[in-house]
Amino acid sequence: MKTIDRKLLRDLWHMKSQAFSIALVVAAGIGAFIALLSTYDSLQWSRQSYYEEARFAQVFASIKSAPRAVEQQIAELPGVAALETSVVQDVTLDIENVAEPVIGRMIGLSNGSQPGLNHLTLRQGRFPEHGKRNEALVSEGFAKAHGLRPGDHVVALLNGKRETLEIVGIVLSPEYIFASRGGDLPDDRGFGVLWMEHERLASAFDMEGAFNHATLSLSPGASEAAVIDALDRLLEPYGSLNAHGRKEQSSHRILDQEINQQKTMATIFPTIFLGVAVFLLNVVLTRQVATQRDQIAALKALGYADITIAVHYLKLVLAIVLCGILLGVAVGAWMGYAMTDLYTTFFHFPRLIYRIQPWIMLVASGISLAAAMGAAYGAVRRVVSMPPAEAMRPPAPTHYRRMLLEKLGLAHLLSPQARMVIRTLERRPLRTLLTSFGIASAVAIIVSGTFWGDSMDYLMEVQFNAAERADVTVTFTTPVSRTALYEIARLPGVLRSEEMRSVPVRLRAGHRTYRTAVSGYPPDADLRQLLDTQLRPVFLPSEGILLSRRLAQRLGVKPGDRLMLESLEATRAKRETVVSALVNDMLGLSAYMDIAALNRLMGEGESISAVAVKPDPSQASAFYARIKQMPQVATVAIKDEMLRSFRETNRKFLLFFTAIVTAFAAAIAVGVVYNSARISLAERAWELASLRVLGFTRHEVSTLLLGELAFEIALAIPLGLWLGYLLAQLIVALMPMETIEIPVIITSATYAYAALAIVIAGVASALIVRHRVDHLDLVAVLKTRE
């Protein structure tokens, strides 16, 4: 080994704690990059391989009812590769020991066996035996939420008749990777999918020899749009207008949205992390190399060429960065795995496939290496380009000026130590600012990674306490007369009840369309308030339709424009109306009308499709018991249940994400604070040792050095909180959110958390440096030149 390389190893060993803290910064950047990108890639890949394996359909159509004879015609449509039809009905379930009614989606299985498309993955038990009429399969998420196992029983209200079903197997379906009735919130507790023999289900709903749900796969090269068109025309007489591709399939849509969000996260966060890491590397390495200027000069005087010296320092940096890369890859892989695993709490895949593509590691390492090399090269070049005679001399004493406080005549208020601290900071304002900026970026990262909880809490609070004030929403199997409202109002414990009418529609403006539901409320509704983003109530106009701003943008319409409503209910009425106003709501792409206007438009009398209820909590079980028995009730949505389910899954995810971000930011903060302190110590060891010799105590000497740090951290925190706020807004603006408008809400608790985390990281670094100051070898320091 060359002697100069031996110097390298010894130097590395000597500065091991500093090298480690620099490596930590690199590792944080790389770790975040790998964790987020690999999670994105793994989710994408898990979905793709599951879809292929389970033969997930590409086109979906729901209809009122069509005879099985139509199947042949569908199968013969050009571009159709395979077809699977079934009966699908949402019903109310009654589960033992669960007071609240639960929504169950019943799906028929031909002969109780594996369907040709959307294969079920059997996790436990078996498929229903042919002829055993009341055997059923249940979705795994739902089974887990209620502790259901093969052999357990659930009661389903099938077309008004209570039937006891025996669970014989637990399954997963590619159609229900994300289980919800169509909303954006996961609801494994309140919504379950059950499969039973087709014949049994069909007879319960008087649909023998018929189907109401068709899924199909396409032959290679077939046009999805053409098939959907043909299918719509074919099924129109049977009550359908709404064949759609995967894009509008509820589970796929949510999964897609989540994957896209993950992709944005995986782009924004690592970019910020790597950017900050690169910036810090630059600052730290420049100072690190600067402390070695006398050694560089000595090497030059001995006849070492500039390039040899430059390579020597680049190798030093390379070694540190490689450590960071190794650590970052390991941490990134572990976190990526854990995060992908967390996704399985609301995305039900048969197995979690986690992988890190080599390119992800190569890109992360490449960026870090290039950045570190660039930073080191810049720093080395500055020193190397100095004539050695100049480099050999210690840097000329810096020019001290009378500081601001002295000019103001306030200097006498400060102790000599405080004056020294302030003069040092004033002497190098750029360095102070850079260090503070480095720490501030760590603060900003924490804020931008933790504010999600605040924003989601706010969103939930607004949506479910201020806007949707009904605790229970009872939905009927088909629109019913308004008298049903009075029936429900008479149930035990109902404090208040209000009618709602929801019409599934396709909105059409020119060539743009969007499938949603128009919700009709009474104009004086109390249980359902329309609020804009400023939380101001929005009044329903007596004529015309009110659209979410995002929906209006999507359809390219503005108030005053005409809009086509195509009902997706049996009537398939097509009506034209006027956009009367837009509303800045936060959740969903929705359309609202005065219920009377909606009924007029649809040419219906006083029909309602749901009732919003506020029950007396003390009589809730009596209310639930009665509602479970009502034959025309299809589903009962309970707000608290849904919120609980959402919070349970989301909380865990947010906590994990916050923990990662905080850990990474803390690594960055320690990297900056510790290195800054160590380099200051190296630069000022002589001065500090002299003070010790003069009789200053360890504590007093430490105060000098740590005072600088304290000032830098104090400056960094408000700056970082402000940067964090800007960063949060940037991230939200870049997030692809079709159906949610996330408000940037940052509570003071989040700000305090970010500040505290950095203070702790700072104090920890300071204590280590303090230890060094305490053990300063006075003689050795003073023996060396200055």
Partner: protein, 238 residues
Amino acid sequence: MHPTPQIVFTARGLTKTYHMGEVEVPALRALDLEIREGEFVVLLGPSGSGKSTLLNILGGLDTPSSGEACWRDHNLASANERELTEYRRDHVGFVFQFYNLISSLTVRENVALVTEIAPQPMRPEEALERVGLAHRLDHFPSQLSGGEQQRVAIARAIAKRPDVLLCDEPTGALDYETGKVVLEVIARINQELGTTAVVITHNASIAGMADRVMRMADGRIASVEKNPHKLSPSELSW
């Protein structure tokens, strides 16, 4: 009669001006000088007289603002960075007041740092033997006294068998006895290897061991004296 040794260093009108912010500080003012092969030259002068600047230029560590400086046929004034590096590597040995050892390398390794890049070096052990440190090969600089560190620096300077040995206040940081030991080593190298030696000092007593003494003042060589009775370092006292 001995043939007159060749001239190795020539300087004509050598000028060096430092710019310190808005102030110009002249360090050398049109200095002329000649040094012959194998000579032991002592440069005397107060602080700020330009001794170190001159030595740095002769050693290729710095370049003049104007004027000429040659080592044999090498023009040091017009040489580029690469040529100066080669010149230092192949021909010059430096000894500094503060030793400038690499603290993370042992005594032997500090010397090896040079022998690995020089064209015809001696073994590090041999160089260290010449300065009387053969028994401390594997110590780190921090484990040595100041005099020992300076001897390591000398061993490092001579290990490449340099043509010239340039010493900037080699005893400046050392006590009397240790200083003498170091001077003896330099004198021995000069005699045994025939290495041209230029030693800077502000200690006039050291002049007694030189072939010639140049006194510097105000960026010029004020006087040059031949020393007819060269003393050995042990005979010096101050």
